[in-house]
């Protein structure tokens, strides 16, 4: 049985209540951290654990914490990024809904480590029912003395605020999130200064994903070394993977990093195989922004070895033959999926969600969407494929936040691996626009 750090007790009835969570060993990390450890010791354990940001960027969390500026007389803030809006990703939704106290416990421990006395959980506004669950759990923790003034008599104060967003994917970008939290449009800020120096209200701020913060309790209880012993190489610990698309068992699974992609797709413990009677065509491994891979490259590296569910193995081969672990939004496509249609769909998403601040993204995402739309609907021109590659290239790296890259990569990678499918649409418009028509040419189905 694989190690479960976050979801071990998820099926215990009533685990969303304080008392049941406490009975399962909950809040022991708060007691241990506040009573027996210094903030620096906690930061040290998180560093040793090697846990990498679970929101998608994969930046080492301990290092991010150690960048936090500590000027005298200025408050510091911890902000939890719960604006999960990347298509294919629904793990934070699942975690907060089922285990609200796990996040709250992590927030207390992390806030203490960072010296924050007021912390925020910024939740996408669509999840209003989850916000109610979190608020209820916060009230419970407060009533039991684990939040508020003088927590457990240790002299440490912490106020936890749940902030609803307004429905904008861009607010998952940390500086846009801070703008939104200040009551403004979610326009990303130029960096530097980084939030660790000037974040919320121009004060030093750490922004971490829900899943990242939720791991801290286990790290405090068991030590950073124990966490680092799980997983593989620099991909330490466990990861929540949200699996959707053409598989038998969509859902959220906690895996130890390093599981072969093939096992994850086919084992009964996880996805349970490709939808019965169908073949595996393509994979988006880490949320819609990461490059799509055809089935053969999803399962094996270019050198023929098995590809693993880890930051390094998924990105092996760079963008030529690899992809990224990202947020763990695992979308599986079978042979009935039209790559052109899906790419257009993703492109529409990024066009819709661009904040419009940088011209390459504002104009480029709309341009790509339009070109993809005309290819999909049978009006493509021969030069359109190269045009898309060119536009994607001109967006990538030319915007102040990564939304531009996120919009460019799905298009560039779909053309890289499925160019003949785009060509087929252009060459055979009447056939390609039939309902349910899918290219059945040279394709490596598994």
């Amino acid at each position: 049985m694989a190690t479960k750090i976050l979801t071990e007790h998820i099926n215990v009835p009533g685990i969303e209540t304080f008392d049941v969570y406490r009975k399962q060993g909950g809040y022991t990390a708060v007691e241990k951290a506040l009573k027996t450890m210094t903030p620096d010791e906690i930061v040290e354990e998180v560093k040793k654990a090697g846990v990498r940001g679970r929101g998608g960027a994969g930046f080492p969390m301990g290092m991010k914490w150690s960048f936090l500026a500590k000027p005298e007389g200025v408050p510091r803030y911890l902000v939890c990024n719960a604006d999960e809006s990347e298509p294919g990703t629904f793990k934070d939704h699942y975690l907060m809904k089922n285990l609200p106290h796990l996040l709250i416990e992590g927030m207390i421990v992390s806030s203490f480590a960072l010296g924050a006395n007021k912390s925020f959980i910024y939740v996408r506004g669509e999840l209003m029912y989850v916000i109610r669950i979190l608020e209820k759990a916060i009230a419970e923790a407060e009533a039991k003395g684990f939040l508020g003034k003088n927590i457990l008599g240790t002299g440490y104060d912490l106020e936890l605020v749940v902030q609803p967003g307004g429905g904008a994917y861009i607010c998952g970008e940390e500086t846009a999130l801070l703008e939104s939290l200040e009551g403004k449009r979610g326009n990303p800020r130029n960096k530097p200064p980084f939030p660790a120096v000037k974040g919320l209200y121009q004060c030093p701020t750490v922004v971490n994903n829900v899943e990242s913060i939720a791991t801290t309790s286990w790290i405090v209880n068991n030590g950073g070394d124990a966490y680092a012993a799980i997983g593989i190489g620099r991909s330490t610990g466990t990861k929540l993977i949200s699996a959707s698309g053409h598989i038998n068992k969509p859902g959220v699974y906690e895996i130890e990093l390093g599981v072969p992609v093939e096992d994850f797709i086919y084992a009964d413990e996880w996805c349970g195989g490709i939808r019965t009677g169908h073949k595996f065509k393509a994979l988006v491994a880490g949320g819609s922004s990461v490059p799509i891979l055809p089935a053969n490259l999803a399962l094996t590296l270019a050198n023929g070895e098995k590809r693993l569910m880890s930051y390094e193995s998924l990105s092996d081969g760079g963008f030529a033959t690899g992809t990224m672990l990202g947020s763990g939004g695992f979308i599986v496509f079978d042979e009935t999926s039209c790559i052109v249609r899906n790419t257009w769909n993703f492109s529409r998403f990024y066009h819709h969600e661009s904040c419009g601040q940088c011209s390459p993204c504002r104009e480029g995402t709309g341009w790509m969407e339009k070109v993809l739309h005309r290819i999909e609907y049978g009006h493509g021109h021969q030069q359109d494929i190269d045009l898309l590659v060119d536009v994607a290239k001109k967006i990538e790296g030319n915007t102040i936040c990564p939304l531009g890259d996120a919009a460019a990569w799905p298009v560039a990678s779909a053309i890289r691996h499925f160019r003949d499918e785009f060509q087929w649409h252009i060459d055979n418009p009447s056939e390609a626009t039939q309902p349910g028509a899918v290219y059945r040419g040279e394709m490596a189905l598994v």
Binding site: P75, S244, I331, C355
Partner: protein, 167 residues
């Protein structure tokens, strides 16, 4: 700005005034603008949409300029800056939901309601909006009505839901 149905002054109910004050008190002094998004949710909960009069009222509550409220309300998709029907169906049109047959179910929903995206039924009961990813991809197709998620939708399930809400 959006069209106005009637000119009326918007004032929160006493419970919402208390809630608004509680929300504003969460933020440091002089940072009350942080309460803007939560207050707009409160406004929409009461009025059904973020009416211009309501936004002016929120601006007064926060002691900020009305334009600061308008520019925020128009940025975020969850604020309805035009009047809407009794039930706003926010239908996810993004990739994973489409893989699970979301486009067909949406076509059925439009046919059933007799409206297209962005429109409201003649009886004022339903407004249909298409939204981007609702973070429930494994349970697609999915739509949201107020705080409730409806998942694993099929044509039959859509009919049941509409029947139920039409009573």
């Amino acid at each position: 700005m959006s069209k106005t149905v009637e000119n009326k002054t918007v004032v929160f109910t006493p419970e919402r005034v208390a809630k608004a004050q509680e929300i504003i008190a969460r933020y440091p002094a002089d940072r009350q603008k942080s309460a803007l998004l939560p207050l707009l949710h409160l406004l929409q909960e009461q009025e059904g949409w973020t009416s211009p009069e309501g936004m002016d009222y929120v601006a007064r509550l926060l002691d900020i300029q009305p334009i600061e409220v308008y520019e925020v309300a128009t940025f975020y998709t969850m604020y309805h800056i035009d009047p809407v029907g009794q039930h706003v169906i926010e239908y996810c049109r993004t990739g994973p939901c489409c893989l699970m047959g979301g486009e067909d179910v949406l076509a059925h929903l439009k046919h059933r309601l007799g409206i297209d995206t962005g429109q409201t039924t003649v009886d004022g009961r339903f407004t249909l909006k298409e939204v981007e990813c609702l973070a429930a991809c494994g349970m697609g197709p999915v739509f949201q009505i107020r705080e409730k998620y409806y998942m694993n939708l099929t044509n039959e399930r859509v009919d049941e839901i509409i029947d139920e809400l039409s009573k």
